[in-house]
């Protein structure tokens, strides 16, 4: 399996960044970048990353299963992640998540029929000071209210 020339370049550089014999350290970053390009962590991606980092496929599989930001199935174009962990929960995170479900018409780890949006209820994202927090793809949104979430989603819908 090969990736785009840019990504190949990035991977080549990545592998030189760790001490001798520690290529396994590149497993997580490689998976994230590969997911961004391929759209999901497929079986091929697992085998490929294992080969490049000199670990067994099952070791990569373990990592994929462990980290919730690694997905085996393609997400919507915009992946909406709503935190319902303690800090967010105390200031309306759960209501926000319920609102998002209604607004998008999908549930946890589901994608809208047009493939534009997917939703995920996530654990702490480290944004407690600005709770409740929402992350859409790699962008953080702070102090989110249901109204603010509507604006965000409508804005993305219009723009695309």
């Amino acid at each position: 399996m090969t990736f785009s020339p840019q990504l190949e370049q990035r991977f080549a550089k990545m592998l030189t960044r760790y001490p001798e014999g520690r290529t396994r350290s590149a497993v997580i970053p490689m998976l994230i970048y590969a997911q961004d390009e391929v759209g999901a962590i497929t079986r091929d991606v697992i085998e490929e990353v294992a080969k490049r980092c000199k670990v067994t496929p099952v070791q990569v599989d373990e990592v994929v299963g462990y980290y919730s930001m690694l997905h085996r199935k393609p997400q919507g174009k915009f992946h909406v992640q709503v935190c319902t962990n303690i800090s967010c929960l105390l200031v309306g995170g759960e209501e926000l998540y319920e609102h998002a479900k209604k607004k998008l018409g999908v549930g946890h780890k589901e994608t809208t029929a047009d493939g534009q949006f997917s939703l995920e209820e996530v654990e702490c994202m480290g944004a407690c000071s600005w709770a409740p927090a929402v992350e859409i793809n790699y962008d953080f949104h702070h102090h989110v209210t249901p109204e603010k979430l509507d604006q965000l989603i409508d804005g993305l819908r219009k723009a695309h």
């Binding site: 067994t56 099952v58 599989d61 994929v64």
Partner: protein
């Protein structure tokens, strides 16, 4: 000697090595600290929390399996708080456990059942619905039932560290964590079943045994695996005169918990539908079953007539039959038939080996030596494929004693992963490869050299000379293929004193009788003599049996008693697991033929024959008592052994083949890795 510390466990003053794990110190002093994940052979995990103990001045309970003993420690393993903690741990482990004990394979021999019985609470506070995942089949021999798993990681470690395969991992996290196989939905591995046996619960189950029986309905017969030459003990579970499983969970025998796919599963040939059930006589209408008495009379008459007429006999013995049978056969040939033409398929050059070692003491390595030696050098063999147990010993040596492995082979082998140095050579370049390691080997404390069939004759002598020149203690293992290859040689099933070798017998145009006992020499060869009367004793209609005039059905190693000698010269006893109706043991068949012929070759009971072996075979002077408690190692011959004519060649069996038995083991053929290939490195 390590530094000693004094500590108190449950009020008893105990001395222990500083740094020894509390769980071990307690065990050595007869105090049980219950544990699931702790396993003394593998790395520490501390995953199950079953081993919690109370240590004075430490605010929280500590895990006994990773806490080292220290001076002045006061430990309690049975206080109220510890008992409460155990109850809590077990209650927690049972949160999602299905409690389907009545149908679970492990029921009756399950560590979780035992622990709950002994330490658990009678009831659970959890009323929530249990998390359920469907059972999965990962291979023909390995099934996984996730809800039963207690995530102790024993299987993962056994596969990684014990087998050197690394086929298992843990997927997901938290309450939905589960064991995953290396290829998404299936395994590609050694299919050894070690993960199944080491699983404390019924999460991993075996394709051949699952839902067959309850453990207490079986008889458990400890005997020796009949496949490769390593001589692993396998405990056969027998129900209704049928073998339903093989394992070594009681860790007895030279192989501790180890078994490969063959020892654990490949007993199914015993009930193969093509198994011969009665003597078969070749007639114009093909093979016809005849009675034993008729068959024995025909063979005896033919043997007597040919002997009287001064005709030519050829006798080929077996790599799988017992020492007693091989000894009796050799005696039958030499004394009864008065022929020197006796041989077997020789898979290693034992003649040159014993000759080269003649006069030296303490040079034959045992299987335990591979675990204990400072260094192991493997020459010209794919050890993990051809001698799975010896390879396991070497791996365990690295794990437990920082032993060193060296490999000089023609291709990639699994040993490379752990080897201090691996040298790739062309076939024939083995000696040069070994020579290139001289300086490294010289620096080792002691060494075991294990070599395959590429090292024979002069090369073998030179290898031993090389070993001598290192100036360190060196022991050797001359690899041979099958469960009693070594015994066949030791018992004299060889063409010494000018007899014909196996190849010479097959090529002799004037052979009058060819008698084959438990071998398949015509698999890839032609019999030159058109008029030879061919008698074959075997379990199946092999290529050789198909050319026989008369075929006598034989009992397998699992159906008889006697002794076998493994590749390291360790003599071990077989135990009869099942009785057979039609076939007879080769010893009985030979005895009956002798009787028909009016020969006096002695009583054909294994113990009687062994008594004769003790007296007349060098190195076998061991008592039945010695044999009853474990293996007894043979001694090297003292004095020269003449070179023998004939070809020496290993069959190159892999993990998934077993000579002529391969095709009669459904299990060996069912796994996707079969038939496998040598020198492919890790093997996946």
């Amino acid at each position: 000697m390590a530094e000693l510390v004094k500590l108190t466990i449950d009020g008893r003053e105990i001395q222990a090595e500083k740094g020894a794990l509390l769980i071990e110190v307690a065990r050595q002093n007869g105090i049980e600290v219950p544990a699931f994940c702790y396993h003394e052979d593998y790395s520490l995990q501390a995953a199950c929390r079953m081993c919690l103990v109370e240590i004075e001045k430490t605010p929280k309970l500590q895990v006994g399996c990773t806490t080292p003993a220290a001076e002045g420690m006061v430990v309690r393993t049975d206080s109220d708080i510890v008992r409460t903690a155990r109850k809590g741990t077990l209650e927690f482990l049972l949160t999602n456990h299905p409690l389907d004990c009545p149908v679970c394979d492990k029921g009756g021999e399950c560590e979780l059942q035992d622990m709950v019985f002994r330490y658990g609470a009678g009831e659970s506070r959890f009323v929530e619905r249990k998390h359920h995942v469907d059972e999965k089949q990962w291979s023909p021999v390995v099934y996984f039932d996730a809800p039963r798993c207690i995530l102790c990681y024993r299987c993962v470690r056994a596969c990684n560290e014990g087998m050197g395969v690394g086929a298992l991992g843990v997927g997901n996290r938290g309450a939905i964590s589960e064991i995953i196989p290396n290829h998404d939905d299936h395994l590609e591995c050694d299919e050894c079943g070690a993960c199944i046996d080491i699983c404390p619960v019924g999460a991993l189950t075996s394709g051949s045994y699952r839902y067959q029986t309850r453990p207490w309905e079986m008889e458990h017969v400890g005997t020796i695996c009949t496949h490769c030459a390593d001589g692993c003990k396998t405990t056969l579970g027998v129900r209704n005169h049928e073998i339903v499983r093989g394992n070594n969970r009681d860790r007895s025998g030279i192989n501790d918990e180890f078994l490969c796919i063959k020892g654990r599963y490949a007993f199914d040939f015993t009930k193969h539908p093509e198994r011969l059930q009665s003597p078969m006589l070749r007639t114009e209408k093909g093979y016809q079953p005849i009675s034993w008495s008729k068959a024995l009379a025909i063979v005896a008459t033919k043997f007597s007539t040919v002997k009287l007429a001064g005709g030519r006999f050829g006798v080929i013995g077996s790599n799988h039959t017992t020492n007693e049978e091989n000894f009796f056969l050799a005696k039958f040939a030499r004394q009864g038939l008065e022929t020197k033409n006796i041989d077997h398929h020789r898979t290693g050059d034992l003649a040159a080996f014993f000759d080269a070692l003649s006069g030296k003491n303490n040079v034959l390595a045992t299987t335990a030596d591979l675990y204990q030696a400072k260094a192991v050098l493997v020459v010209g063999a794919d050890l993990s494929q051809q001698h799975p147990f010896l390879a396991f010993q070497a791996r365990a040596n690295v794990r437990h004693h920082d032993g060193h492995i060296y490999a000089v082979t023609t291709g990639e082998v699994r040993e490379d992963q752990q080897a201090v140095a691996s040298v790739r050579v062309e076939k024939g370049g083995e000696l040069a490869g070994v020579e290139s390691l001289r300086d490294k080997l010289k620096a080792e404390g002691d060494l075991v050299i294990v070599f395959g069939d590429a090292v024979q004759g002069d090369v073998l002598r030179k290898l031993v000379a090389f070993g001598d020149s290192l100036g360190i203690p060196v022991k050797y293992v001359c690899l041979v293929d099958y469960s009693n290859s070594r015994g066949a040689f030791d018992m004299g099933v060889t063409p010494k004193d000018g007899g014909l070798s196996r190849e010479q017998m097959l090529a002799a145009a004037d052979l009058d009788v060819l008698w084959v006992v438990g071998a398949n020499p015509l698999k890839n060869a032609q019999l030159a003599s058109k008029n030879a009367f061919v008698v074959v004793q075997d379990l199946f209609m092999t290529e050789t049996a198909k050319q026989a005039d008369i075929v006598l059905p034989a009992a397998s190693a699992y159906e008889k008693s006697g002794t076998v000698t493994n590749v390291c010269g360790e003599v071990q006893k077989l135990a009869q697991a099942i009785k057979v109706m039609g076939p007879k043991t080769d010893l009985e068949v030979m005895g009956l033929i002798a009787k028909e012929m009016g020969l006096d070759l002695g009583i054909w009971l294994p113990e009687k024959v062994f008594a004769e072996i003790r007296k007349s075979v060098h190195g076998y002077n061991m008592s039945q008592g010695q044999l009853a408690v474990g293996p007894a190692a043979t001694m090297p011959l003292n004095g020269r052994v003449a070179a023998l004519p004939g070809t020496i060649q290993s069959s190159g069996d892999t993990l998934f083949t077993s000579g002529s038995l391969t095709r009669y083991s459904g299990i060996l053929n069912s796994v996707m890795e079969a038939p496998g290939q040598l020198y492919r490195g890790k093997g996946q």
